[in-house]
């Protein structure tokens, strides 16, 4: 015998009225048609107890005891697929983030593994529990000197972010970027040990206070450098600085993702690219494409490499399938995150490509884990590929700094 079902005897809308209606994301939630576009678009929906559609329904008519549970709110990978496609304009990603904020306010969240990362951000300004002093170690491997701002002057800041700065398997991205920029004659500098985490980790898991404190500090630091533009390595830092920073404090520095800068250099003819005979496919990072709106720039860079053959996967651009690496999912529910990445790897393999190019350290780590677990294509960063095309050796071959003992395990974004 199945358990007896409880009849709905009243619809109060109390949860919605008291906690959602007045917030910025409350707008349009009532328009929901329950069409299921969100659930069908959600990479995580099949692993969850409540689908995104059911979450919206319960936000409107349910109570907090049903909604404010870790198994409901911590499965979103913040990929924005639901929000971009919703025919009624419901901002579901932000709605789930609001639920996370409420969980934290009530002391019910986030998940333990996620707390660790945020505490590390609070204590060390990075989620990887690394000392501040080692943030600039990657730069020592760059041939030639890298300017350190503000002691030295430049109008361009390269901001690798915590993952590309600390994790030994991701430092190659920062290294490659520094070399490409230098060889293209771009005058830039880094913040060295003064760089701090953008705060994305805290925001995505609902620790809004930590996020806002981190963002405020960073806005002040970045603004005081007097730079005209910031180049980010990470799609996550990019989306947060571009869209969320101005909501925290006035911030009027131009934020560019490295792929946009490379596309600009390509169109100026500033890069001398040698042929690479290879067929590749490109994975759009969610926070770059759907959150940031950057879809064409990375493709323009790939198309500029002679001999390189870009074949597209079935779902690309604003419709690209998420790798599962974001929104704290990789930290909180690693197994599911990697399973989702395996689905994306299967799509990549089907495209007929030999390698999978992307330009977000998080996608790269998650897709690589999927490759190791269930097969797929080798993952390569866009900047690495450009460096290779400039006739440089693989930056990964540059010996990783030996004395940084960082566990490259599951992260967060």
């Amino acid at each position: 015998m199945a358990e007896e079902k409880t009849a709905i005897t009243e619809l109060t809308g109390e949860f919605f009225d008291s906690l959602v209606a007045g917030s910025e994301v409350g707008e349009k939630v009532r328009s929901c048609l329950q069409c299921g576009t969100c659930t069908a678009s959600c990479p995580v929906a099949r692993y969850t107890e409540l689908s995104p559609r059911e979450i919206v329904r319960l936000v409107l008519i349910g109570g907090e005891e049903e909604l404010l549970r870790p198994e409901v709110v911590y499965y979103c990978s913040a990929c924005y697929s639901c929000a971009v496609r919703c025919p009624m304009g419901v901002r579901l990603t932000e709605l789930v983030n609001l639920l996370r904020d409420i969980m934290v306010d009530r002391g019910m969240g986030p998940l333990e593994a996620q707390v660790e990362l945020v505490r590390s951000v609070e204590n060390y300004d990075n989620p990887w529990q690394q000392p501040r002093a080692q943030r600039d170690r990657w730069a020592r491997k760059v041939p030639g000197k890298v300017k350190v701002l503000p002691k030295q002057k430049s109008d361009t800041l390269y901001y690798p972010g915590c993952t590309a700065a600390y994790l030994p398997n991701m430092q190659k991205v920062a290294l490659a970027t520094a070399q490409v920029l230098a060889r293209a004659g771009v005058d830039f500098g880094i913040m060295g040990r003064e760089e701090i985490c953008c705060g994305s980790t805290a925001m995505r898991v609902g620790m809004r206070e930590t996020f806002e404190a981190q963002a405020s500090r960073n806005i002040e630091k970045l603004s005081s450098l007097g730079v005209r533009r910031i180049i980010t390595a990470c799609a996550g830092c990019y989306g947060i600085m571009k869209h969320n920073y101005p909501e925290v404090a006035p911030f009027d520095v131009e934020v560019l993702h490295v792929s946009e800068v490379l596309a600009g250099l390509v169109s100026e003819g500033a890069l001398e690219l040698q042929p690479i005979e290879r067929t590749v496919t490109y994975h759009d990072p969610c926070h770059l494409a759907r959150h940031g709106g950057v879809v064409d720039a990375p493709r323009a860079v790939l198309e500029a490499i002679p001999g390189l053959n870009l074949v597209e996967m079935s779902r690309v651009g604003l419709n690209a399938r998420c790798c599962g690496g974001g929104g704290g999912l990789r930290t909180g529910h690693t197994e599911q995150a990697v399973a989702i990445a395996s689905e994306r790897q299967a799509e990549a393999s089907e495209s007929g490509a030999q390698a999978l190019v992307t330009c977000c350290p998080f996608c790269e780590m998650n897709l690589t884990d999927a490759l190791n677990q269930s097969g797929g294509l080798p993952v390569i960063d866009l900047v690495e590929l450009v460096l290779e095309s400039m006739g440089e050796t693989d930056p990964a071959a540059v010996e990783a700094p030996g004395d940084t003992a960082v566990d490259p395990g599951p992260g967060s974004a």
Partner: protein, 648 residues
């Protein structure tokens, strides 16, 4: 004769009285100088309400009237007529809007009543200065211009012609018939679209009262209600309609044969530069597409069409022709376009050849279509599973917010026909089923009974994965993900305003509604009229609708146009602008700012207002630096009196 002002406050049921204290307004107004009587009544526009005004005019000898009620757009004509019936000049009326501009936008009685009082004071102060004016009348030209010759334009033209009036039926394309000619069967009765349409097309060709102008577009409309001049340009067809027999020999000879996507087949087949629009075209004559004819584009071609044409009907150097048509009314029936599915890339349109839009599928179903009515995949085989995706480009903030009203029904019709032709398994992915018309629910039930699978969930995307084309959705009734492999996907693409609608609206001086279709004068009571007097609307140019509604609206537009023509004269509002010639220095700023082209400079270098064109908007009066423009119903003194009333 006592004289004095009568003030009438309308409760409008609770519309006004629910917020504004109408009794207090009447009490207060009764104390104002010059006010002979002030009354409150439940519905001033009703017969007894108007009776009150009339008997007061007669018994108290009122010489001015103020009605505080709804917007003058609504009932100013009603109350003007009321005054006229009591032998008072209708321009001695002032309507004070205390509904749209007061009770409907305020919630608090105290302050709303204060605002209503201010508005009323202004109206009373102004009415004291109102002058007797008389409306002018002009004769009406007994001909109608119908723009667009789909089923709406055809039906309107035939109805007007049947009443003995002259009709100019202007069509942008080379044949009449419109979208309906492209359809296979029509829902819910499944009669053959061509079979019911072509007799009407032939009637158009035969009607002595209809002059058909194909390949023709409106360039400019001037004049006014009842007296329009339409300048139309007939683009060179390069084929003489009268001598062409429609034999098709030129089509076979054209060097571009099979190289140009055929618009009638929604791009599924290819034609040449010279082509027959479709087998039942009216006029049954070939046309040359100047965009693809090598003689036209490159200036050189052996032009085998010329040799192939027995009756020598082709003239590749034929010029455009521009004509001016004098008409009393215009019926706009320019139809719709199909939403471009490429705008929603998640559905794979343009990426997977098995994904098509509904019009393409319709052409495939049609016996006159590219496959002779067979449903075929690109590899030449028949599909065994077909998915229909509803609401593509409709009910979606990312495209159009409105419901296109026909997609549910045509999708179910297509599902029925697809099963009949192939026995394929058919899936309908839907959010809600819109089946509101006569016989529609019955048809919905019929296709369910026939075994079409209905999946309650909007499709999220279509992708080729694991070797097969899959539709991704959620079965929201079960709460389970759907990943359905199918052979063919049909997108139920919505209806959008026809290309060029905004441009046409500008030429006609009529408004668009926010959805981009032409706006009707009133959503319920004047559905076949535009905001422009003498310009009527028929069919999908006003909003998505099915064939029965289109024909009904076309009939209504025709009756409105005929009624205008039969009236014989039009009255033009007397509240126009006038020029004080001694003050005019001929700078022309009024000419530039007039949106209706009603002001011009005379040979003497002074401005002159064409009273028939003037709408009394007052832009010229506001712009005139010398104060030379006097608005007959809103002169400076009257406006200052209003302001004094508001500030009192």
């Amino acid at each position: 004769m006592a004289g004095g002002i009568g003030v009438y406050i309308c409760d409008c049921g609770t519309n006004i009285a629910g917020v504004v204290d109408c009794a207090a307004l009447a009490r207060e107004a009764a104390t104002w100088p010059g006010v002979a009587v002030a009354r409150e009544y439940r519905y001033m526009c009703s017969d007894p309400g108007q009776g009150l005004i009339k008997s007061d005019i007669e018994e108290l000898g009122l010489d001015r009237v103020v009605v505080a009620a709804c917007s003058p757009r609504m009932h100013e004509p009603t109350f003007r007529a009321c005054l006229a019936e009591a032998d008072l000049n209708p321009y001695l009326l002032e309507v004070c809007n205390i509904r749209e501009q007061c009770s409907w936008v305020h919630a608090e009685t105290g302050s709303a009543t204060q605002k209503a009082l201010s508005l009323l004071r202004a109206a009373v102060r102004k009415v004291r200065l109102n002058r007797e004016l008389s409306a002018r009348s002009f004769p009406v030209t007994r001909a109608v211009l119908v723009l667009g010759a789909g089923i709406a334009g055809i039906h309107a033209a035939l109805s007007i012609a049947a009443s003995g009036k002259k009709v100019y039926l202007v069509e942008r394309g080379p044949s009449i018939g419109g979208r309906m000619a492209q359809l296979d069967k029509t829902f819910p009765t499944l009669d053959c679209s061509a079979c019911i349409l072509t007799p009407k097309m032939v009637d158009v060709a035969r009607s002595p009262n209809i002059e058909l102008l194909t390949c023709t577009e409106l360039e400019e409309l001037s004049g006014f209600n009842g007296n329009f001049t339409a300048r139309v340009r007939t683009r060179s067809r390069r084929v003489d309609i009268d001598s062409c027999t429609g034999c098709g020999d030129c089509v076979e000879a054209c060097v571009m044969k099979g190289r140009v996507p055929d618009e009638f087949d929604a791009g599924l087949s290819r034609r040449g530069a010279v082509y027959m629009p479709f087998p039942q075209a009216v006029p049954l004559a070939a046309a040359v597409d100047p965009q693809s004819c090598l003689y036209v584009t490159k200036g050189k071609c052996k032009s085998p069409c010329l040799e192939a044409c027995g009756p020598e009907a082709i003239d590749l150097d034929m010029p455009d022709e521009v004509r001016e048509l004098e008409v009393g009314a215009v019926v706009v029936a320019t139809g719709f376009d199909v939403f471009g599915a490429a705008g929603m890339p998640q559905f794979g349109y343009g990426r997977y050849p098995e994904v098509m839009d509904a019009l393409q599928f319709e052409r495939m179903l049609s016996a006159s279509g590219p496959t002779g009515g067979r449903l075929l995949l690109p590899d030449g085989t028949e599909p065994s599973t077909i998915a229909f995706l509803h609401c593509v480009g409709s009910r979606d903030e990312n495209a159009n917010e409105y419901c296109s009203r026909v997609c549910c029904m045509y999708s179910m019709k297509q599902a029925h026909l697809a099963r009949e032709k192939t026995g394929a398994k058919v899936y309908e992915f839907y959010i809600d089923i819109t089946a509101f018309g006569k016989g529609y629910q019955e048809f919905y039930r019929r296709v369910r009974d026939e075994g079409v699978f209905f999946i309650r969930g909007k499709a999220a995307d279509v992708a080729r994965l694991g070797g097969s084309l899959k539709v991704f959705a959620e079965d929201t009734l079960l709460g389970r993900p759907v990943e359905l492999p199918v052979d063919m996907v049909v997108l139920a693409t919505g209806l959008i305003p026809a290309s060029g609608s905004a441009d046409l609206a500008r030429k006609l001086g009529i408004a668009l509604s926010p959805d981009g279709f032409f706006a009707e004068a009133h959503p319920k009571l004047r559905p076949a009229e535009s905001h422009g007097d003498g310009i009527f609307l028929a069919g999908c140019c006003q909003g998505p609708k099915d064939i029965p509604d289109t024909v009904a609206q076309a009939g209504a537009a025709a009756v409105e146009a005929v009624a205008l023509l039969d009236r014989g004269t039009v009255q033009v509002d007397a509240g126009v602008g006038g020029i004080v010639e001694d003050l005019c220095r001929g700078c022309g700023i009024c000419v530039e700012c007039c949106p209706y082209g009603a002001v011009e400079l005379t040979a003497d270098g002074v401005a002159c207002v064409n009273e028939a064109l003037c709408k009394g908007c007052g832009l010229c009066a506001a712009a005139c630096l010398g104060g030379a423009v006097v608005m007959e119903a809103y002169d400076d003194g009257q406006i200052l009196a209003c302001i004094e009333g508001l500030l009192e």
